[in-house]
Symmetry: C2
Subunit: 299 residues, 2 copies
DNA sequence: TATTTTCTTTGACTAAAGTCAAAGAAATAT
DNA sequence: ATATTTCTTTGACTTTAGTCAAAGAAAATA
């Protein structure tokens, strides 16, 4: 990893200072209006679709007790309704009442007004320029914040990721997808396998599995990225991470197969140095097979 | 002014939410460390050069009483030294002691570490991309936040601007500049003249003057932008604002002259539709003379 | 099935942040 | 020179924000 240049640091900090002290503060002020900022944020975060207390706690970084009391206060004001989660009765779900919804809509109206006021000082071309610049910045900041970690293939997060992966491709494959075709946890750990998860702010947003298929040859499977984290270049990062794991485990090559429907994936594999090879497995979902020779371990 | 597109608003709000909730919060946390955030911010804002309480109050948006007490607390901790302003003894100046400086340096170290940590998740090319994007965003956000206002030519801000202008060009003209050559307040107001000031966050960062030189002809003078607000495109905005004032006052043309040293200014005038004309005044500092014909008032 | 872990609530606090008004000293404006 | 405005301090409060530990109920894991 290249050392970070002082100029890059300076530019980012400068922007950070400017943005948080000016826009951020203004925004908070508008969001809050007649209400403590904490409550206003909480209402906003519950949003029209509701959310579990667990999620709210995570997203806003609040103490459990503090959150519990704030929710109670909002409930007493008739803005929020709390119910037990349908499938996990430890969890409680918070939803906005109609009065709560009205208030959140008003928050949104004000915040939009703020953004409009800001943009109205620019001409159309400058507005486009600004929109593009913030989109680029957001994409890169998100990507920078996502970490790819090696986890136990049997862990909760790993299982959740595979379940999400299976559900996702079950929708995308015309013939559906049978979860029995997933790799087993024991294959994805230890000396011969690996399970990588990409985390964004504590939540898994992607995964990938390495397993052994024959001596000296690994197989990469189930590379998946959560819809909310697509188009950031994350799949490529996971793929590179799995290759590194394969090198560490002494593999000379990795293979993978892919479904005919996943054309973007195929393009990525080629761009990452994979070459198409003949069928090497019996996977009924596969239409293309790839291989990449790996460098030897340096250590 | 064109209406603001919903997509632009959405993009800006989305970024705002992401940035303030993620980076902003992190930054505060790092800045604070063992110290209440308010105090930490105050120390940071005083900075190595010191600042008057008045300025700090404005920049941080604090209540006067609250600030006074916080400053006293920092003084008691040996981090800040307070003295009376040399020329205006209503004002008090806060400066960091050496212990305060050490603490601010430590804050900076931590904040740099945060930015470095962020950037280290990107490759060099992505870092460049991010740096460019945030620079563009900052420039446009600043520009959007600057308002150009018509003020009384005799007001405090107007006089301060002209003084700053005079000091600035006195440095830039090889022969210096005599403030007696400035327009008089009464020329820059009422039916025949105008004084525009560009304000950024309440502080004047630029100005421009319109006065009458003969029937139907106005003259634009003293278009100036504070060094900290240059390269934003502000001079052009002031110039356009003055032309609008001239149209409102029924002028058919505006003229202006410029010093040989100010080549960028000449380029801007040409780009804004001015054409060079023969000498029309006795201004000893002028080397080029320009004119622009104005459209008639529509109302 | 027994044990852990997860999630929420409650009690008992503390610290930080902020508000408002009165008053005095200096500078500016008229 | 008088009136007005600006700047800061002080007193007297209120709200918000946050912390920590204990405990009970469900779910997940071994």
């Amino acid at each position: 990893m290249e050392p970070v240049s002082a100029n890059h640091v300076k530019a980012l900090r400068r922007f950070n200072r400017y943005f948080t002290r000016r826009i951020g503060v203004l925004d908070d002020h508008y969001l809050g209006q007649d209400r403590p900022l904490g409550e206003a944020r909480l209402l906003f975060e519950i949003g029209p679709d509701g959310a579990s207390l667990r999620e709210l706690r995570g997203r806003l970084g609040l103490d459990a007790g503090y959150l519990s009391r704030m929710i109670r206060a909002l409930e007493a004001q008739g803005l929020v309704r709390v119910s037990v989660h349908p499938t996990d009765s430890r969890l409680r779900m918070a939803e906005l009442t109609s009065a709560g919804l009205v208030e959140v809509k008003e928050q949104n109206r004000r915040a939009n007004g703020l953004a409009e006021g800001l943009l109205s000082g620019l001409d159309t071309r400058q507005r486009d320029e600004l929109t593009t610049a913030v989109a680029v910045a957001e994409r890169l900041l998100r990507l920078a914040a996502i970490t790819v970690e090696l986890v136990d293939g049997a862990s909760r997060d790993a299982r959740d990721c595979l379940a999400a992966y299976a559900a996702d491709i079950d929708e995308r494959f015309p013939e559906g997808f049978d979860p029995a075709a997933l790799v087993q946890p024991h294959e994805a750990s230890g000396d011969s396998g690996a399970f990588l998860i990409a985390y964004e702010e504590g939540r898994p947003v992607g995964c990938g599995v390495l397993r052994r298929i024959e001596p000296g040859v690994g197989e990469i499977r189930h590379v998946w990225v959560h819809p909310a984290a697509r188009r950031l270049g994350l799949a490529r990062r996971i793929l590179l991470g799995l290759e590194r794991q394969a090198v560490e485990r002494g593999y000379e090559a990795v293979r993978l197969d892919t479904h005919a429907a996943l054309t973007e994936a195929q393009a990525m594999y080629r761009a990452c140095g994979y070459t198409e090879i003949p069928r090497y497995d019996e996977n009924v979902y596969a239409a293309h097979w790839f291989e990449k020779r790996l460098p030897h371990t340096s250590d």
